[in-house]
Structures are given as C-alpha cells and as structure tokens.
C-alpha cells in the first residue's frame, strides 16, 4: 500500500549525482515531483536525461544522493513505477494480447482468463489495435508497438509512469497520434508522469512542468538549468502547438546557455 506523503510528493530527488565511465553524468540534482504532475525532461544529447530517468526508475542507484518514492527510499525498480521504452518496448515472443495480459496478471490483482481477455481487448480497442491482438511485435509498425507498450504499462496500474523518448523514432503523424493518446490517458487517469524527450516542442505541449538539463559553466555533469510550470489547461488542443504561449517558452529554452 502506498503511503500518502504529507507534502503530496510522488518523487523526491535529493541532491543526486551520478558518475559513470570516469566522468560525472549528473551533478547535484534536486527535484520534487507532485502526485499527478506531468513532468517533461529535455536537454541536449548526452545531457543525462535517460540516466536521470533510469535512476528514478531504480534500474541502478545514484553515486550520490537519494530518491524517494511516495516517501520511501528507493532501492530498485518497483511495480509502483512503470516504464515505456523507445527501444525494446515489448516482449518479442509474446503476441500483442499476451504482452498486455502479462502486464495485467503479474500483480496478482486479477482475474480469470475470460476477464483478462476482456480487459486486454477493451484497452486495445481504445487504441484501435483490436485487430492486431494476435500479431507479434515484429509484425507491427513502430507507432503500433508504442501504443501497445503504453497500454501494457497503464493496465498494470502503476502510480508513476516514466517514458524514455518513446516517440523519437516515429514519423510525424505517428508522433501526433501518440501525443494525443498520452494526453487523453493523462487527463482521464491522472497518473504522475515523467517524460524524457529531445523534442522541446513535444515537451512543452505535453508537460505541466518542464525541466531542462544541461551543464552549467565549467562544471562537469548536467544539472537542472530550467524548471518551469506550463500553465495551459488539459486536455490541450493541437492549436497550442502554434500558440504564442508555447513559442514564448520555446524561445526561453533556446536562449538558455548550455
């Protein structure tokens, strides 16, 4: 059972630094993420975005500092925190439906076979992939794989969902479709989301808060150089992408000195 923290933080990142292959990747990062926040993390290539996400996930521990998940010190990956990867988003030996059912059945929360199928198909219908239920991942396009991966993660009902550049290898229209899907899911499910991307526009469009990582001065290792709330109500419309508000934030980020 998850604790409700006094300050309502889903994640508390306390002054973490990470050292890897003889250099500092991240330096002195402190960040508190509230329950239900949609945080997007951007930064140039090699700025440690994915490293930070993996530390939050618990894939490996930080060299310094601590990360707390709902008030408890994080010691490894846990079912409270789901992940959608860009690479290897699905299990290649399972069909679409089996991939989803695997996410559904592992927490012993449910259910007989008939209901598993029913629930998996219900979610697949939401992303228009009911017809692909018996296909293997290698038979799907990149966009379809990502849609299944999102469903697989969401159906397991984690409190926090992490996204590691999930749409970066997709074409423009697939990206737009998945952004819409993600927006709908966030609006209806209100999960805490941490979304890493190198696409700044996407980060502003999706996030309720944007974090920019980069190296400050001569210091080795990236740190937070911008932490900004984006005051645009959800669900966001496509026209927000061309709005003055978005462009203003965009300009601010592009003017930052990395």
């Amino acid at each position: 059972m998850l604790k409700k923290t006094q300050n309502n933080f889903a994640l508390e990142i306390n002054n973490i630094s990470h050292y890897f292959q003889n250099k500092w990747i991240l330096r002195n990062i402190s960040l508190n993420i509230k329950t239900g926040e949609f945080v997007t993390i951007v930064g140039p290539s090699g700025s440690g975005k994915s490293t930070l996400l993996n530390l939050i996930l618990g894939a490996f521990p930080p060299s310094k500092g601590t990360i707390s998940e709902f008030g408890e010190n994080k010691t490894g990956a846990s079912p409270h925190c789901g992940i959608v990867y860009q690479k290897y988003p699905l299990y290649p030996h399972l069909t679409v439906k089996e991939n989803i059912i695997f996410g559904l059945t592992q927490k012993e929360q449910l259910i007989d076979k008939k209901n598993q199928d029913k629930k998996a198909l219900e979610y697949l219908s939401k992303v228009n992939l009911k017809e692909a239920q018996n296909k293997y991942p290698f038979e799907l396009s990149g966009g379809m794989q990502q849609r299944v991966a999102i469903i697989q993660t969401i159906i397991a009902n984690p409190s926090i969902i992490l996204f590691d550049e999930p749409f970066s290898a997709l074409d423009f229209s697939a990206q737009a479709n998945l952004q819409k899907l993600l927006m709908d899911l966030y609006t209806t499910k209100k999960k805490t989301i941490v979304f890493v991307t190198h696409n700044v526009e996407e980060a502003i469009f999706l996030g309720s808060r944007i974090i920019v990582l980069g190296e400050k001065g001569n210091q080795q290792g990236a740190t937070i150089i911008l932490d900004k709330k984006i005051k645009e109500p959800y669900p966001r419309k496509e026209k927000f992408k061309t709005s003055a508000h978005l462009n203003e934030i965009l300009e601010k980020i592009y003017n930052l000195k990395f």
């Binding site: 490894g76 079912p79 925190c81 290649p92 030996h93 695997f102 592992q106 290698f138 038979e139 993660t153």
Partner: protein, 282 residues
Amino acid sequence: MIKIKKQKENFWQKLNIPSILWSMILFALIIGLYWAISYWRHIDNPQDKIMPSFTQISQGIKFSLSTDETGQIPLLIDTYYSLSRLFIGLFFSLLISLTLGICMGFFKVFNKIFNKFITYFGKIPPLALLPILFIITGLGESTKILLIIIGLTPVLTLNVYMKIKNLPPEHFVKAITLGSKPLNTIKHIILPQILPSVLNSLRINLLSAWMFLIAAESISAQAGLGYRIFLVRRYLAMDIIIPYVLWIALISFFLDISLKILIKNKYPWFNPHNHYVKENSK
C-alpha cells in the same frame, strides 16, 4: 537520360538450378560413382565384400529387418536402444544446461563459480574421457548417456548463459515494474526467449551427440546402431554397415528437420539467422 546497362547473365545464372536440386545431383553422382566402382570390382571378384553391389546391400537390409535367433529384428532393436540413449542424453544435457545457464545469467556468484570451469572443461575432447568413464562408471547404459551429457552440456550451458546476457536489460527491469516475481520472469520472459535459440544450438550439436553415442556403443554395448556397425565390421559385412550408416544419416536428417519445423512453428518470432528476434517488418 541515363541508360542502365543490363548485366549479362553468365551460364550458371541462366541455368538457375535450385539448391535442393544441386544436392540431389551430388548425391546421385556419389551413388553412381559407387555403383561404377562396385561393378568393376565385382567383375574382378564376384565375392567382393569391400564394396557390395546394390543386390548385396538389399540382402543386408533384408537380413537386418528379419528376426534373429532371439526373435528380435536387429535394426529395430538397435534403433530403439540408440535413440533411447540419445534422447535421454539430450534431455539431461538440455535440463542441466538450462538450469546452470539461467543461474549463471541471473546470479553473479554462480557465474563466478562455473563460468571459467565450464569453459575449460568444454575444451577437453569428450572422447578422451571415454576410457575414464568406462573405468569409473562401468560398462552399463549410464556411461553412454553420460558421454553425451559431458560432451554437450558445456557448449549448451555457455550458449544459454550468452543468450541471457544478450537479452536487453530493459526486459528485466520492465518485468519488475509490471510486478513480475523473479521466478515468473524466468518462466514467462527469459525461458521462452532463449529456448528457440538453445534448441537451434541443440540441433547443430546433434551430430556431436551421435558421434559420442556411436563411439561409446562401439566399445561396450549389447545393442545399438554403433554397436552393430562395429560388431559386423569384424566380418567385413559392408552390406550391413552401409545400410546402417544410411539409416543413421536418415534419422539425423529427420531429427534436424523436425527441430527446424518445431522452432519455426512454435516460435514464429524467432529468426535463427540473427539468433534473436525478427526485425521490425514495417
């Protein structure tokens, strides 16, 4: 406009003979060559036993398929014994390799203890161990099976270990985030992903398994295909040896094809050429 010059096809490209037809042609050539040499030898010596004629071979087959003084059909009883030993040996090799390989892939301490040992143990030619095995375990069935296990287990174990190491770490982390317990992850994620590749490796190593079996049977057995070949060798009974060798080749071929079909049908996502998964087709 640039004209693309059509490349001229050479004679072999024009001929375009499929690979299977080439194999059949080569086999037919070997049979033809055998027949010709055997024919010439029989003109000199009609009783020649070194290269029996097709009639002599067919009599050898008839003899192998007729009941002997104990009321048993030699070819069938030999096949039964050899295949039983082979399958038991393969089963235990696979079982030990999967258990040990998974433990090595999952737990660093297992890897530390076994990795180097298995690598070096695998360098010992199993046939060199045969006399030692006969001395230690006696002349019974266990020695023949043990030789197959000793011969195959190191190769298969390292194969299982390498396959696990080559799985994307994302798969393990994701399984934890989906709430999967370690045993469930092994059962539902790791084992099914490595199994086709391990079966493929087993298929490739079938020939070695046959070699170990025939070597062990040739030294000590009461029945078995290897036993029979080495028994009748004393009487230069090539009319029996040749059908037996062809029969072993046929069984080997059948096992190879069966495993190929099993892998293809049961694991349609598996691509044996890159030993992992099929690439995204779109």
